[in-house]
Amino acid sequence: MKKSLFIFLLGVCVTNLAHAQKFFTKAGRIDFNATASSSPKNILAVNRTVTCVLDAANGNMQFAVLIKGFIFELALMQEHFNENYLESDKFPKAEFKGAVVNNAAVNYFKDGAYVVTVKGKLTMHGQTKDVEAPGKLVVQGGTINATASFALLLADYGVSIPGVVADKVNKTAKIEVACNLESLKS
């Protein structure tokens, strides 16, 4: 009896470990685009130091993005982005906590491309809002290429655009996410 219980528990642990497979990156990429049709210069930035962890067992997904990690073509624009708009000294990080809604449809251990929807809460500039984005997970040889794109209404996050440049900055920012996730050995 005790022996069978032992084997049962062993079995539980092993399956748990297998399902607890997690994937991560610290070098994910996010593209930020707030260019409006009347912007004199493109308002483009890229962050190549995005951290992301994905739990295959339940589809939970989290991102951490350092605001100061966004690189703009124009250094002055980057300065204003940090100092006046996102106030990165006060709010250094943006975070997303959510999950792949249709996680059951994804087989993380078989190569293939899966269309997914990710839903969760995005915290940026001290404000938290619900975000839902269509994305794609491409499983290949044990790594996952995760991409998604969505739009953010800057006003939702308390990012105010002053009157003088109101027509030069888009009120919504287009966000593109691209992460190559490797398996996380814990």
Binding site: K2, L5, F6, L9, L10, V12, C13, N16, L17, A20, K22, F24, K26, L44, A45, V46, T51, V53, L54, D55, A57, N58, N60, M61, Q62, A64, K68, I71, F72, E73, L74, A75, L76, E79, H80, N82, E83, N84, D89, E95, P162, V164, V165, K168, L184, S186
Partner: protein, 295 residues
């Protein structure tokens, strides 16, 4: 023994279960704190007249147009000085995050000036950070006026003056920055035999942010040694910085007409108490010469 094993497995079982609910990001371990530079102590590399502790970003050029009008005490006759204008334009280049150079020309004495500014220490936070910025500026000015006395033997070196200054500054908070600038100005040729070639001075500059894009600024230079006996005063400027996208407007009143170090430190003839102050503005426009690749 077996009950211990049982407990261990129970523990493993639950710990795995708990971990799945936990903060996923914490699985990657704590991020190491990194040293981070404190930026935007001033909106511009100049307080008003004086160099600030701020540097241009590498790869950018700052095109500056500076105007100083006539003194306010002239009244309506000269439209409170606005009928007269003296200007300087300059091109400053950010080479490294702590190194910049610049060249300018003023209508006052048709003077050309150039400088190099370097900071061995930049204010930062995090491990091994510094609470202050220490910068050094070294500059030269070349007087371009015709010789006052063409009949005597004139040397080109007589047109030259030099200045060296240190800037010790700290951005105390998001809204408040203060800096001290001990400096030495050397003039190769002075007007009167009693005038000194070397002038030692101590400057104070600061900024108080009024809103995200507006700030109150001031700079004052106190001449310690070498002030001519009469007719010259310590320069004090008080202004407002307004930032609009790619431009910074610095509107101010000052008793100095000169816009390079030699001129405003050693040749300020206006007296604040007598209303001999001028309205002036600096217009700064930054251009990105070298862009980082985003792809």
């Amino acid at each position: 023994m077996q009950s211990k094993l049982f407990a261990l497995f129970l523990f493993l079982f639950f710990s795995v279960g708990v971990q799945a609910q936990d903060d996923l990001l914490s699985l990657l371990g704590e991020e190491k704190p990194t040293k981070e530079r404190i930026k935007s102590a001033f909106k511009s590399p100049r307080v008003i007249n004086a160099h600030s502790m701020e540097f241009l970003n590498p790869g950018t050029m700052d095109f500056r147009i500076l105007h100083r009008f006539g003194t306010l005490d002239q009244g309506y006759k000269n439209f409170f000085g606005l009928d007269q204008a003296s200007m300087r334009m300059s091109f400053d280049f950010g080479l490294l995050h702590n190194l910049m150079v610049g060249v300018g020309r003023s209508t006052f004495k048709k003077e050309v000036d150039a400088f190099i500014k370097y900071a061995p220490i930049l204010q930062s936070k995090g491990p091994r950070s510094s609470p202050v910025t220490l910068a050094f500026v070294s500059g030269i000015t070349v007087d371009g006026l015709p010789w006052a006395d063409p009949t005597r033997q004139n040397y080109f070196s007589s047109r030259l003056a030099f200045y060296n200054q240190a800037i010790l500054g700290r951005k105390f908070s998001e809204g408040f920055t203060l800096q001290l600038m001990p400096m030495l100005v050397h003039k190769n040729l002075v007007q009167a035999p009693s005038d000194r070639n070397d002038i030692y001075a101590l400057g104070v500059g600061g900024r108080l942010k009024l809103s995200k894009r507006m700030a109150l600024t001031w700079d004052y230079t106190h001449i310690l040694v070498g002030m001519p006996e009469t007719g010259y005063y310590n320069p004090l400027s008080v202004g407002l910085d307004i930032e609009t996208g790619g431009h910074v407007f610095q509107l101010h009143v000052t008793n100095a007409i000169g816009m390079n170090e030699r001129a405003f430190i050693t040749e300020t003839t206006g007296q604040w108490g007598k209303g001999q102050v001028r309205f002036g503005f600096n217009l700064s426009r930054t251009f990105q010469l070298k862009k980082p690749k985003l792809d």
